[in-house]
Structure formats: C-alpha cells, structure tokens
Symmetry: C2
Subunit: 305 residues, 2 copies
C-alpha cells in the first residue's frame, strides 16, 4: 500500500494507540511511527512489545517532523498536551485525536494549533473493556466506524487524507457536526456506560445479596453490564465531565421512561410492559443485519451446534 | 449413565425445554421424554427437530406416567397448566418448573399438586436472547447454576434426585429460600433486563439521533444492552408482574444511585465519578475468575491474536 503519512506520532499509548500502531503496521500505510506516554512504565512496555517504531522521551520529541499527530490521551488531558506540542508541530502537519467527546476537545485543543497545521478531531468508535498498551490489537477498528468532525474551513485534502488513513486501519468513516457527534455518542455510548456502572454499583452495595451470589449467578443478565463497567475509569470520568449537556438530557429521558415502566410494574399493567419489550427486539435485528454484532446466542459464549 | 427418571414430560417447548431435551439426550440420564406445547406450530417444529421422543396432543397426555414433569411455560401460565395436569399426575412423581420467579409460582402451582406428588420449584439460570424450540442447544446449562427452592417438608430424596438430574444436564445446583431467590434474581437478572429494555427504548424514541445512527454506531456500548433487550417479551412481562416487590425495591436503589452520579456530572465532581468507576472493575474480575464470563475482549467478538 502507498504510504499515507511518512511519519506518525502517537501521544498516549493505551488501548487505542496500541491498536492503531498494530493496524498501521498491518496496513503498511505509514513510514515511521513514534510514540510517547506520560509514565515510564507504559513507555517501557510499548518499547518491549514494539507498539511503535520509536518510543520518545517527550511529546515534543515524538511530534518532531511528524505528518500526523494523534492525541490518544484522556479527554481531560488533551489541552495540556496540545499546549506542549503546539510550538513543535511541523507546518502542513495534521493533528487529530481519538477522544469520545468532541466539543470539549475542540475547545481545549484548537487554540494551541498554529497557523498552517490542520486540526481535524476524530473519534474511532471502537474499544474493549481492557486498557493499557498491551490491550491493543490490529483488528480493533475492522468494520467499526470512525467519526471525523472537521471544523468549517478545514483543508479538504487534509480531511480526505485522514479518512484514507482510517480506511487503511480497517474502519468505515463518517463526517459529522461536532454537536451532533456529542449527542449521538451520549446515546450509543455514554449513557449505556453510566447505566452499566450504576447497575454494577447497586449490586455491589446491596448487602442482602452477597457479592459471591452476584458473581455466581451473573449469567442471568447482570454480567453483560459488567463488561462495559470494567472500562477505564479515568477515560470515563473525563467523558462525563466533558459531555455534560447531552448526557444530562438523555439521562432525563432515561429516568422518565424507567419511571413509566416502574409504574406499569406497580399497577400490574402487563400490556404496557409487553408492548415495550416487544418493540425493542427490532433494533437488535437491525444491529445484527448491519454487521455490528453477532447473532450467536449469548454473544457466542454458549456453544451451539 | 444410570437413568435418573424413567419418563420426563416437558410442558412448554421453548428455549429452555428444548435445551433440556437435548441435554438429557446428551447425558443419557432419562428414559422416554414426552413434550407438549400450546400451539400446533411449536409442536410440529419440536417433532420435526426431535426435541423430545414423543410430542403429545395435550398436557394431560404428556404427563401420563411421567416420573418428572417440568413446567416450562411463562410464569403467568403456570397456574392454569398445574390445574389441568394435577389430577393426572402419577403418585410419587416430581413436578418442577423453570420459572424466573418463585414465590408467584409456588402460590399458583402448589394448590393444584395432589398429595403424594413432590412439587420442587427450580430455576435454571441460563438462557439466551433467542426464543422458541429451535433456539435450544444441549450446552445451555453447562457450568451455569440451577437454583432449587424446595418448600419446608419436601421429601429429601426427591430433592436430591432432582439435583442429580440438573447435574447430569451440566448445571451446578444451589438450594435457596423462595424469598431470597426472588431478591437475588431481581439483582442479577430482572433489573438488568428492565434497564436494558429502557435504554433500547430511549434510543429508539430519541428523534434527534436516527435509528440508522444508533444501529451503525452501536458497538460503542449500546449493543451490549440490545442482546438482553431482545429476550422473550411474554416471559419478561410475567417476570415483572410476578416479582413486584423485589423489583420495585431494587429499582428504587438504582435510581437513587443514578441520581447521585447524575449530580456528580452536573456539579463536575470528577472524584466521585472516578471512585465509582474504579470500584466496579472488581466485580468483573470476580465473574471471570468464577468462570461465568470470558475475559476475551469485547466478549470475544474482536479477534485478538
């Protein structure tokens, strides 16, 4: 494959950067990959497992002469990193990120990007419950979506090039307005996570049912929540602090609906419950038809012959 | 294997009965298996795919001379079925069920069980999002738990025998008081299901994000909820109508916790969010150590090499 960028710098070396590094190598779509992480331990692991070609001692060193710089740090840390690397960016380079919220990233990062450097926020919608550099794998983005959120006036060629890059890593791409991005992600990602965290917290704190019982009998539904509730706490704290408006709006809708179902339970209104439960099967079917989940029973955990 | 029961009758031929039929054949632990389902179509399918040895035209015919009768119908239908078969049960037989709630089943079924027949409520905690006779598979109960809820005074040998039977089908067994059963299941199963249904309903009804967007981008967390929200609507309506007290109590706890996190988001209290999210990782670890879920990233949907 033709090289899309000569040099790529990954700032932050967790699950996403690690998977990007491996996916870039699989695709052979870039020249040298440099990388930097804040902690020495992460840098050592990244070096040992060969996540990038060259682990650098600082972010400024890593971005030197880079044609693409990818900010892979928690949303709350993006501004500081941008301020640090801003003066060292190569003219004509592209800066992008992988943050789960976009308005807050634009607000934090854009002021530090010098004239002549393209800043194109992006969000690969892929992940697992595992964190850290060793959690990365080359297939993470295959058939997943990467949302590009270019600001008005951004160089069209630079955006196309970033899109080609994500395609090479296996992802589908879609462009979206920043505000709409944050709303879509609140629905498909942020609210599901806060609800899963809450459910696991309630089970943990409910003393009349022991933790051993919760664990033993979790296959009855509960364990599905524990996967996403095992996601990185720092990342998720920053998501909620930085997508307040959309999160709070949809949480309001969620509790309204939940109260309606709670009332149906209390009053014994079986028809309302049945109609609600019957309706939600369709979305599942759509997700499976769109290739975004497996129809294997129980996520394929159960073996059916 | 020695035969545990000479003749077993399955009343209701959906996912659970279908899996029991196949698991019994795999184990070779019973003699003849008879079966009955309310609709002719289900009976035809069961006959065609060989779920049981003999599909009967009525429940009373199916239970004739049966040593074990398993009620595999929705919780709301258990009472009627028990009334119908009660006079036809063989003296010394055992009647059990697979319902997800137990107090309501005891109340509905026990009055119809004649003297000399053992009624031992049970609940195999296993299932998938698929329903119907063709959804069954022999491995469904392997390493899952079956809760036995014998009433005081029940014949100890009959309970031991039913436990042997569930072991032969691959399950682990535990005995529990009826009230505690309904509370445990509210936490590990009923509340996760109502929350998943609600989340899917909210996403479906939120018109500023299209259904196509929800489906496309569902891998970001949402799709984990859609699996259990695709479960059988009749079964789940009956569960909520029949486990009102425990469900409403835990829903109250859930919304209380959710409001606390919502407040932390609104006020920007990152420490509270971080502490909460950090804590919930431990339960996930426990579940994996107990062999109740896979540690493969993303439920094994992503291929990691």
């Amino acid at each position: 494959m033709t090289q899309i960028y000569d040099r790529v710098a990954l700032i932050g070396l967790g699950l996403i950067a690690g998977s990007m590094g491996l996916a870039m190598k699989r695709a052979g779509c870039v020249g040298e990959i440099t990388g930097y992480a804040k902690t020495a331990k992460t840098r050592e692991i990244a070096d040992r497992i060969g996540l990038v070609d060259r682990v650098c001692a600082s972010a400024t060193e890593a971005v030197q002469d880079a044609d693409l710089v990818v900010l892979c740090v928690p949303v709350g840390a993006m501004g500081d990193v941008a301020a640090e690397i801003g003066p060292h960016l190569k003219p004509g380079a592209t800066v992008t990120d992988v943050g789960s919220v976009k308005q807050a990233v634009v607000d934090a990062v854009a002021p530090h990007i010098p004239e002549g450097v393209h800043f194109i926020p992006a969000h690969p919608m892929a992940g697992t419950e595992h964190s850290g550099p060793e959690a990365g794998f080359a297939e993470l983005f295959d058939n997943r979506w990467c949302l590009l959120v270019p600001q008005p006036g951004t160089d069209a060629d630079a955006v196309d090039r970033l899109e080609d890059f994500w395609h090479a890593l296996g992802a589908n791409c879609e462009r979206m307005e920043v505000e709409h991005h944050d709303l879509v992600c609140a629905i498909v990602s942020h609210i599901p996570h806060i609800i899963a965290y809450t459910m696991v917290g309630v089970a943990d704190d409910f003393h009349r049912v022991s933790e051993q019982e919760v664990i033993k009998f979790s296959a009855a539904g509960f364990r599905d929540f524990t996967r996403i509730a095992a996601s990185d706490p720092t990342m998720w704290r920053d998501v909620f602090l930085n997508n307040k408006q959309a999160t709070l709006e949809i949480l309001g809708r969620f509790t309204e609906e939940l109260f309606a179902l709670q009332r149906a339970i209390r009053t014994g209104d079986g028809q309302t419950l049945f109609d609600y439960f019957n309706h939600t099967r369709e979305i599942r079917r759509g997700i499976i038809e769109a290739g975004q989940d497996t129809d294997a029973p129980d996520f394929g955990r159960s073996k059916k012959h």
